[in-house]
Symmetry: C2
Subunit: 449 residues, 2 copies
């Protein structure tokens, strides 16, 4: 793991620690299994793409309470010496079963199951939900934008408007999984090996005496990778200045990469700009648009035939604006070998560890339906594949984690397997998730008080 | 600054660095001023509370490119040795004028103005917008929830559903500024000195053989700070078990603090629970509710007279669900002493450094209107106060930053000064922000190409 992620053991809800102390005090320290799933898909989502597992596993491997952490906890007066000593030696020693990152999942399907001594399993809840919820929302939002763009490249410009820097970095990673081609976020480039992409800001233009002078200064510095921002003063005049610079670059054997539109009527401006560029024989200069774009506005531009080659997408994707949250939860499903569940209205859970079976159609090409069983159940039908695999044992990652590129490939494969109706940006169809009779039946070991 | 914030110099849009190299290459390195403001208030917001300044100033003081950062930048092949060397010695040496954290602000009002050599001013853009946008949205959302709660305490339970850990920590801080009484986030407690608050999870209940056994185990561990979660199986039975434990605690000289409802019809359940507690002479036991709450659902509960003593608010506040983004921008307003501006449709800016004047009514009690002038203009009227003050000079913080408690007090004062109509949760009135003729007039130094 890189220098970038000093995991903070105190990123935790207080009750995880108070419960842990109560568990310890009452000798209640047997093994438990916890399931992480969403109860409902967010609005207009026929699926979610699972992301965030790599950070979860690195966190579980590295989770330690520092002496500063322990000093703080001691200072609160809520924790006894014996418990603090227990935290000083804390290691996550449990096992984890999980879907592969990039897998499409649906409501009530566990994406992660953690089996560990109950205190260990409980203490990691806050971070696990936080990371998986965020990363999966982001990957899904990105996949929607990529679908809308219909083959044009989409880049992440969200770093300034995400909710903080962790979100900005994770959006870069998740959006790459969802199919973006790169990010403006340099740190995410360094951390994840994602291609970095950038043009110029309006301030660069305004700090020069003229737009043309600014364009020339930038093109001089980056003769082979310049995209000129043309809307600072007047877009048509901006395109003219860009054509001047493109011709100057051409005479020196370089090519202007593109022009960027960041305001105004993108459909009409892109047509005007394309015509002007084509008239100047600059067919190779790409038109990039940005500014308040999301899957809905991009779909409208694409359907209208706007000649746009690439999209820079920021705010509305970077906060998953139409669905900024899910109801992801992490629920105990066994304690000491006994299946358990809660029955709160609207929040009931199925007890016991589970397996998620993905049943493909006869051609093995599309998802037909999913089936939820207990972890040790037999295959429900011949062309069903299991989605939960062992990824951590005794606190150590099993095997080698897939590369980010492999996760991205997996996501593309998964999206290709979903029926078109499930991919719709509004009012998508659902994949049916059936639940085995065994899970639905009241379990003999399950106690109601 | 604490161990918690290893500021990452690479949390930056690529174009900040490519523009910097182009500036350097073209000898374009004069001083510039940048203004950070929102163009429009988000929906249903009559104001925003300014937050995030402390992190901005600490970042500016500590911003350095590490040798690892420089190695990565060199490896991209986009940057010349001279520029990399320049980054190796990078320090922010500029000045900052800003509003006090906790100040209410409106559209087009600069909350921060940065004056520095243009490369320094440009490089900090991504982080500054990111932090101020997030923290201000969060503080504002929290203030709305606190207003809705009408005197009942509100606590931050959002850590698991914010977009990442930076957002979770900053939501804890910002929501405390907005009037929350505490947070479940232990790290935020350690970092900011915010009171930490916690109850128990359903998993704690389900891991015991009975709800009563779980309640007893927790109360034994925390006889003076227990709030029992009563809805795991059946709320009425849960309240009965809580009454049993409250009586057992009482016989040992301790008091049960509260019971928590996390599902179902909060209005009716809280009345039933209150009646049961009162019938058992447990008037002191408080009812806490949580689960999908925001300012709108809390307002409905309060207006209905539900006997709820405190609210735990998570997801919907922690992502500012009804307004997860603002259009915060950071715009160059001078270069080398010359006022500059952009004229993009819908995105035009006023040139030059500014002052924001808050004009109070005759009793000095309420905000009458605001007035935007150039930085050096005279007071527009007798009872106008300036909102932008020098907070950093030559890269160093001027004076002592206010404590978090002082910022919280400031926010309460500011909210008290806003007319009630501006505080409405839906369809609020606006504070008028007038703009001086001087700012509106075309500036002689301003160039249109």
């Amino acid at each position: 793991m890189s220098r970038f992620d000093p995991f903070d053991a105190l990123y935790i809800d207080l009750y995880q620690l108070t419960m842990a102390q109560a568990y310890l005090r009452s000798g209640h320290t047997a093994e438990a299994t916890f399931s992480l799933f969403v109860r409902n898909l967010p609005p207009d989502r026929g699926y979610l793409l699972f992301a965030g597992l790599e950070d979860v596993l690195r966190y579980l491997e590295r989770l330690r309470f520092t002496s500063q952490d322990l000093d703080y906890l001691r200072s609160t007066g809520q924790f006894g010496d014996y418990f603090i000593e227990c935290l000083a030696g804390f290691r996550f020693t449990g096992s984890v079963r999980a879907m592969d990152e990039g897998t499409a999942f649906f409501a009530n399907e566990p994406v992660i199951e953690v089996t560990a001594p109950v205190i260990e399993g409980q203490i990691v809840e806050t971070f696990l939900i936080n990371q998986v919820n965020m990363a999966s929302l982001f990957a899904t939002k990105a996949a929607r934008v990529v679908k809308a763009a219909g083959g044009a490249g989409v880049a992440d410009f969200a770093a300034r408007r995400t909710h903080g820097t962790d979100a900005g970095n994770k959006f870069a990673r998740s959006s790459f999984i969802g199919g973006f081609v790169g990010t403006s976020n340099v740190g995410a480039g360094a951390r994840y090996g994602i291609p970095t992409i950038g043009t110029m800001a309006h301030s660069f233009i305004t700090s020069f005496d003229s737009e043309l002078a600014a364009f020339r200064a930038y093109a001089d510095a980056f003769p082979d990778s310049t995209t000129l921002l043309v809307d600072t003063y007047d877009t048509v005049k901006g395109v003219k200045a860009a054509i001047t610079v493109a011709n100057e670059l051409g005479s020196r054997g370089s090519r202007l990469v593109g022009i960027r539109l960041d305001s105004g009527d993108m459909d009409s401006l892109s047509r005007i700009a394309r015509q002007m560029l084509d008239d100047a024989s600059l067919h190779y200069v790409q038109i990039v648009t940005s500014g308040g774009l999301d899957e809905f506005s991009i779909e409208a531009l694409v359907n209208g035939g706007a000649p746009i080659g690439a999209y820079g997408v920021g705010t509305l994707a970077g906060v998953s604006a139409d669905a900024p949250w899910s109801d992801a939860v992490y629920k105990q499903v066994t304690y000491d070998g006994r299946p358990v569940a809660k029955f709160s209205p609207g929040k009931a859970t199925f007890p016991g560890p589970k397996q998620v079976w993905r049943c493909l159609d006869e051609g093995d090409e599309r998802v037909a339906h999913d089936h939820l069983t207990s972890a040790d159940a037999d295959s429900p039908e011949s062309n069903a594949i299991t989605l939960l695999h062992q990824v951590m044992r005794d606190g150590a990652v099993v095997g080698k984690l897939p590369s980010l590129g492999q996760v991205r490939d997996r996501a593309r494969l998964e999206l290709g397997r979903l029926p078109e109706s499930v991919l719709h940006l509004s009012g998508p169809a659902s994949i049916q998730v059936s639940v085995s009779d065994e899970l639905r039946a009241p379990s003999p070991g399950r106690k109601r008080i």
